[in-house]
Structures are given as structure tokens and as C-alpha cells.
């Protein structure tokens, strides 16, 4: 083979092998599953079609900082919290939302501070869970458009995770059994019709404090970005996420931003270090400016989402349930002050539960039929 032919052959084979790897990851390593592992994702998927949903997305500060029944009583609209870990990338969360939100829905984003500065690097906990034995977060990967899937496979997904699945394939029969047990658990949780049924929390106490939160001052934990390096800068990733949100808004989804809920600890107050306070305020102004310039509204101010040490549950971002109720009331006051009133929906929270229950029952019938 001549050198030029050899080079062409190398290029072609490289492309073919890369394509083969991408297909393997897409179809074999991270296949789509009918039943999501997190309850919050089940709530999101199973309530598609319920008119005028209010969907709250962020890291877990929303799970621990918002009381859904309070919102439902005030707005007379079905509400779900779909927030999970803040380590998961916002871009993937938005693509996932894009597949499940409909015109007339409202999206509220009380994003943790780091979402405004996050880069392209993904957390190890995220890349591991996307392809773990339960496929805990496969829905994020499978919600991505093809180019973003390729970006994930070739620049962000560790080869070791793919290799471990290829060398030790999953048992899909076991996954199906686990799905059915999980659906039963989801249906029981729905029946409770409390804050936890809609993605929130009911805890008033915690057995332990997160070790990292225990070791760090609040401003270091919440604003590590601001402390050592001066004022933080909005990341390109966040700016491109704003463009994604613009697509959602153009499709008829109302989008509102809020500050995350934080609670002081007895040993450390939040937004308290003089040096970081200056940076935080300047950075917050940049965030609001960027969000507003993209055509969205920022509701409330930082202090309205800041609570005392009696509200601390287990990290600075987690409030006790009674404080979550207070925070939700403050949130409603902020919406009213801004003149934002969400129109009543024809669907109620009961409609949402009925739809979600039907979805679960249909899934169970499908698993039963596949076993026959």
C-alpha cells in the first residue's frame, strides 16, 4: 500500500471504529429504559400531558427548600419538583426537560450557585451513574441530540465505564424485576399525597451532617468560586444553557429563575464573609443581567432564600421541611411583588397523581406482557 493510501485507510478505519464505539455506547452501554430510577424523573415523565404543570428543576436545594402543597394551594396548578443532585450538568437536565415539557407549562429554576460557573467537565458521580448497573441516569444521555451524544461519548464519558459494561453485561431480566418493584414503591409514594409525593422532602431532622459541609464554612461550600479567585465569571456553558432555555420558552414554556435556598449552620453563617460578600453581590448582578438579557425574569433576592441555623438540615443547601414551607411562602410573595401571576390550570394536583398512577400501572402491564 502506498503511503497516501495507507493514510486514507487509517483515516477511514479511525472513523469506522469511532462510529462503532459510539453505537456500542448508545445501544449497549447506556440503553434507554422504560422506567427511570429516580422518583423525580418518574414524576416528570409520567405527568406529561397534565395541563399547566409547574416544574421545579435545580440541584437538591429545591427538593429540600420548596413545599409543593403550599404552591398548589396558592396557584391552583399541578406542581412537581424534579430536582436531584447539583453535580449533574444543567445542559443535560435541560435537554431532558425539553423532551417532557409542553406549551403552557412553567419551569422554575432555583439553581445552585455553581451552575452559573460550571464548565464542560462532568462530575465523576454523574458519568458513573449514567452507565452503572441500574442505568440510574440513562435518561439524561438518551435525551441528548446526536451531536451532544457524540460530544459526551468522545470527550466526557470515561472509557473505563464503557469497558466495564462491555466486559460484564447487565442482566436485563434483573433490571426488569427491579423496575417493577420500583414502580410499586413510586405508586405507594404517590398515594401519600404529601410534599415527598411530589418530589419534595418531609424531614425535620437529620442523623448526620454532610462531612464536607461540616468541614467548610457556608461561603466556602456554597461559593467556593468566589473566595480564592475574586469575583467569579459566568461560564460559556451557562450562557449556552440560556440559549437552550430560549428554545424552551419559544415553545411556550414560561421560565423563571430564583436564587437557591441556603441555611446557616450554628458554626458558620452564609453570605457572611466580608470578602466574599462583595464578590457575591457583584456576581449576582452579572447573573441577573445575563438572565434578563436572554428574556427571562429573576424572581426574589438572595436574602429571601437565606435562612437561619434553625433551618439547617444536613448541608447548607438543605432546609428542614418547616423552613421549606416558610421559603415557599417567601417565594410566593416574591412572585406577587414582581406582578407574576400564573393562570389557574384546568388540571389539579389530583389529576397529576391520577395520570402518574395510570402511567405506572401501564408500565407494570407492559412488563407482565413481556414476561409471558
Amino acid at each position: 500500500m502506498r503511503p497516501s493510501s495507507f493514510l486514507c485507510c487509517c483515516v477511514l478505519l479511525f472513523g469506522a471504529l469511532a462510529a462503532l464505539y459510539a453505537v456500542l455506547v448508545d445501544q449497549w452501554v447506556i440503553p434507554e429504559r422504560p422506567t427511570p430510577v429516580p422518583y423525580t424523573q418518574y414524576l416528570l415523565q409520567s405527568t406529561v400531558g397534565v395541563a399547566g404543570r409547574v416544574v421545579i428543576e435545580s440541584g437538591s436545594n429545591s427538593k429540600y427548600g420548596i413545599d409543593v402543597p403550599t404552591l398548589v394551594r396558592h396557584w391552583q396548578r399541578p406542581v412537581v419538583i424534579v430536582a436531584n443532585q447539583a453535580s449533574y450538568p444543567l445542559k443535560h437536565k435541560l435537554f431532558n426537560l425539553k423532551n417532557h415539557l409542553e406549551p403552557g407549562d412553567t419551569l422554575i429554576l432555583p439553581l445552585e450557585w455553581h451552575y452559573y460557573v460550571e464548565g464542560r467537565d462532568l462530575a465523576e458521580v454523574y458519568t458513573t451513574r449514567v452507565a452503572d448497573e441500574n442505568l440510574s441516569l440513562e435518561f439524561y444521555f438518551n435525551a441528548l441530540p446526536i451531536l451532544d451524544k457524540l460530544e459526551f461519548v468522545f470527550t466526557q464519558f470515561p472509557f473505563s465505564s464503557a469497558l466495564s459494561v462491555l466486559l460484564e453485561p447487565r442482566s436485563y431480566a434483573e433490571l426488569d424485576d427491579a423496575d417493577v418493584r420500583r414502580i410499586d414503591r413510586f405508586l405507594r409514594q404517590l398515594k401519600n399525597f404529601d410534599n415527598a409525593s411530589f418530589g419534595g422532602n418531609l424531614k425535620e431532622t437529620s442523623d448526620s451532617i454532610d462531612v464536607v459541609a461540616a468541614a467548610m464554612k457556608c461561603d466556602q461550600y456554597v461559593h467556593t468560586l468566589a473566595i480564592p479567585a475574586g469575583k467569579a465569571v459566568l461560564s460559556d456553558v451557562f450562557l449556552s444553557n440560556l440559549e437552550l432555555l430560549r428554545v424552551l420558552a419559544d415553545d411556550g414554556v414560561s421560565v423563571y429563575f430564583m436564587w437557591p435556598a441556603v441555611a446557616d449552620r450554628e458554626e458558620s453563617a452564609c453570605y457572611a464573609l466580608a470578602q466574599s460578600r462583595v464578590h457575591i453581590e457583584a456576581f449576582a448582578a452579572d447573573v441577573v443581567e445575563a438572565v434578563t438579557a436572554s428574556g427571562f425574569r429573576f424572581v426574589g433576592d438572595i436574602e429571601e432564600s437565606h435562612f437561619g441555623s434553625q433551618c439547617f438540615l444536613d448541608t447548607y443547601y438543605h432546609l428542614t421541611h418547616s423552613c421549606a414551607v416558610k421559603r415557599t411562602q417567601a417565594m410566593l410573595r416574591a412572585f406577587e411583588r414582581e406582578g407574576i401571576s400564573l393562570p389557574r390550570s384546568a388540571a389539579s394536583q389530583e389529576t397529576l397523581v391520577e395520570r402518574s398512577t395510570e402511567f405506572g400501572m401501564a408500565l407494570k402491564r407492559r412488563y407482565a406482557a413481556e414476561r409471558l
Binding site: C9, F14, L17, V211, P228
Partner: protein, 104 residues
């Protein structure tokens, strides 16, 4: 170092907390947190080793070339492209950056 800088004067930190902080702050400054930096750093040595391994395996001196002529085959091309892809894939690593560690 950064972790200890945060906690100068704190005498109450447990061993568990110290370990967590050492894991969180393995290097000494914000440059470590620059998006993509870890990825780039991990790719470079792998690519370097791969290229030199390929050269060592396939390279021939002028006598060999004149004696045996050109003997590259599709299998050689497969080895080169496969090795390159493998090196690229093995260079991808998830970040354990401080922003991405927290369990919230």
C-alpha cells in the same frame, strides 16, 4: 493546601473531614478548576506514549525500506487507527473538581 488554608486555626476538624478535604483539594490553586484542564493533562502523556510506541513498532531504516519495499497493509492501518482511538478514549476522565464533588 487550599483546604488547610481555609481551616487555619480550626482545631476541631476530624480525621474524616481532613481526608475529605485532602481529596477535594489535591492541588494548590484555582487553575486546577479550569474546565477541561484535567482532561487535556491526562490525554497528553497517553498520546505521547502511543505515538512513540507506534514509531518504535513500525519504523524501519532506509536499508529495510530499500530491501523489502513498502509493506503496509490494512492490518497496519487498523493497528494505527485503533491505537489512536484507544489512546484518545483512555484520555477521557471525569472530573473530581471541587465544584462537582458536593452531594447536594
Amino acid at each position: 493546601m487550599l483546604g488547610s488554608m481555609f481551616f487555619l486555626g480550626s482545631a476541631t476538624m476530624s480525621e474524616e473531614q481532613s481526608t475529605v478535604l485532602e481529596q477535594l483539594f489535591p492541588v494548590t490553586g484555582p487553575s486546577h478548576w479550569v474546565a477541561g484542564a484535567g482532561e487535556l493533562v491526562s490525554i497528553v502523556p497517553v498520546l505521547f506514549i502511543t505515538v512513540f510506541a507506534l514509531v518504535a513498532f513500525f519504523a524501519r531504516n532506509s536499508m529495510e525500506v530499500s530491501d523489502k519495499g513498502d509493506r503496509y497493509t490494512v492490518l497496519n492501518a487498523l493497528c494505527v487507527s485503533g491505537s489512536l482511538l484507544l489512546a484518545l478514549l483512555m484520555g477521557i476522565s471525569a472530573s473530581s473538581s471541587v465544584f462537582l464533588y458536593f452531594n447536594f
